[in-house]
């Protein structure tokens, strides 16, 4: 099938990518556009590590054809990382030892960001629910939940380097 050009907003910038039909957003981001912060743990929609934010909603980029984001607003971990320093969520993950191998971290950060944007003061159970589509083999989740709650307590969780 013929390749086609898909146009969308990536981290605040108009972006074009030439893809074969049914190329996933994850593949387009990592292999075509060089945005490698997004990680793929399973390529089948069941680990959450590839989560990015599309129009404010967390989505699994490994099973989303990039055509689906034509004209949409896509935010990846690169987009919330400030040029200097860290996003408050990144900082809190760092301080709470919420990262061990780090493979789940990009996805965990993006679901947490989507949660706090909608619900700046979630309960512990709401945080656990929000990240329940994301697997972490290393940390036991507890430090990740603590990090998100720390941001919720200290700020509105929506500052620093966001391009929306």
């Amino acid at each position: 099938m013929a390749s086609k050009i898909v146009t969308f907003t990536l981290n605040g910038r108009e972006t074009e990518v030439m893809v074969k039909p049914l190329t996933t957003l994850a593949k387009a981001l990592r292999e075509k556009l060089g945005f490698t912060a997004t990680k793929c743990g399973c390529y089948e929609g069941n680990c959450g590590s590839c989560t990015v934010i599309v129009n404010g909603e967390p989505v699994l980029s490994c099973i989303l054809p990039v055509e689906e984001v034509e004209g949409q607003n896509v935010l990846t971990l690169e987009g919330i990382t400030p040029a200097e320093g860290l996003h408050p969520l990144q900082q809190a993950f760092h301080e709470n030892f919420a990262i061990q191998c780090g493979f789940c971290s990009p996805g965990m950060l993006m679901v947490s960001k989507a949660l706090l944007d909608k619900n700046p003061h979630p309960t512990q159970a709401e945080v656990a629910e929000a990240i329940s589509g994301n697997l972490c083999r290393c940390t036991g989740y507890d430090p990740i939940i603590a990090a998100v709650l720390q941001v919720a307590a200290g700020s509105n969780g929506n500052q620093g380097g966001s391009h929306e």
């Binding site: 069941n46 680990c47 329940s132 697997l135 290393c138 989740y141 430090p143």
Partner: protein, 335 residues
């Protein structure tokens, strides 16, 4: 049909490393022209924090700041030998190798400092802040960068050291069968509280209280991270995870995370952790290995708690809903 609560306990005695052909791990250290101590290893950091704790151990022995130590690892083509990161062995093995290598490097470092400060090597000491100085006269000191420059460009000396951990294989006593398969041993006790739904067979772990006796802690926050992560992994092994199918033919073997069920954030129980430090005789600064045991110790505690709740005798894991319901049926037909 009801939700029944139960409590279970486990106690664990866990070996560090193993004794296959010496179980060697090597470390090489050299000082660069900028005063950085590069520690070359083949041991691997999986996210448990190995690079951090080994840099701490290296810095301690060398007497230099943590920031002056760089762990260079992960390439088995170019690095010295390591048996591998498993069996809770690496902090213990690589740590011992690093202490040995650092002592050798430190000796040369102090000799250069002595030459520069016109004193005797045995009168040198490190201040841990980046200087080597003369004991008793703290103003006569030299910074690591100047020391490194002097070593390289004035004296033609290499500040370096070689270290190895090696445990001789003493074999098996043919009379008694006695052998010495491991090094120091760590210990743990876990108490689990569960709630079992007798209608659906589902188990919820409410609380895990753990006590770990792991020798000297190099980095307490990383220790806590291992115990928390291991507790939840153990919960997964106790209730969900199996590479065997729940049904008896290989086609049903898990093919991905849809079938291989891991614990998720809402499954995380309340966790309380205590750490006891009884330094080991043979570990670096008294360390014992403990990473692996943190995923094992919770399993029998959880299974025992389920049996306590139901009055059953389940002795396998994972304790899936089917296993719970079968055990309840067996109990009923017995009575």
């Amino acid at each position: 049909m009801a939700k029944l609560k139960g409590t279970g306990i486990s106690s664990v005695n866990y070996p560090t490393g193993m004794n296959l052909g010496g179980d060697p791990t090597q470390a090489l250290i050299h000082m660069t022209t900028t005063g950085t101590f590069v520690i070359s290893l083949a041991s691997c950091d999986l996210g448990q924090g190995l690079k951090t704790v080994l840099a701490q151990i290296g810095a301690e022995t060398l007497g230099v700041p943590f920031e002056n130590v760089l762990i260079d690892t992960g390439d088995t083509d170019t690095g010295p030998h390591c048996m591998g990161t498993f069996a809770s062995r690496t902090t213990h093995r690589a740590g011992n190798a690093i202490i040995m290598a650092a002592q050798e490097a430190r000796k040369t470092m102090l000799e250069i400092a002595a030459d520069e400060l016109e004193a005797r090597p045995e009168d040198m000491e490190t201040d841990g802040q980046g200087f080597v100085r003369v004991k008793g006269s703290p103003d006569r000191k030299i910074h690591l960068v100047n020391l490194a420059l002097a070593g390289h460009f004035k004296y033609g000396k290499t500040v370096a050291g070689r270290g190895i951990f090696f445990k001789p294989n003493l074999g098996i006593d043919p009379e008694t069968g006695k052998m010495d398969p491991d090094s120091t041993e760590a210990h743990a006790c876990v108490m689990a509280e569960v709630e079992v739904d007798t209608e659906t067979g589902e188990v919820k772990v409410l609380k895990l209280q753990s006590v770990y006796e792991i020798g000297r802690q190099v980095n307490p926050k990383l220790v806590e991270g291992q115990i928390k992560g291991g507790s939840v992994m153990g919960l997964g092994h106790a209730l969900y995870e199996s590479t065997e199918p729940y049904y008896p033919s290989p086609e049903h073997r898990p093919g991905g995370f849809f079938e291989y069920i891991l614990p998720l954030a809402p499954d995380v129980p309340e966790m309380e952790i205590r750490v006891l430090e009884y330094p080991s005789a043979d570990g670096p600064y008294g360390v014992k290995g403990f990473g692996e045991m943190t995923a094992n110790a919770p399993i029998p505690a959880i299974v025992n708690a389920i049996n306590n709740a139901l009055g059953t005798e389940i002795s396998t894991h994972p304790v899936t809903p089917e296993i719970v319901l079968q055990a309840l049926d067996a109990k009923q037909s017995k009575s």
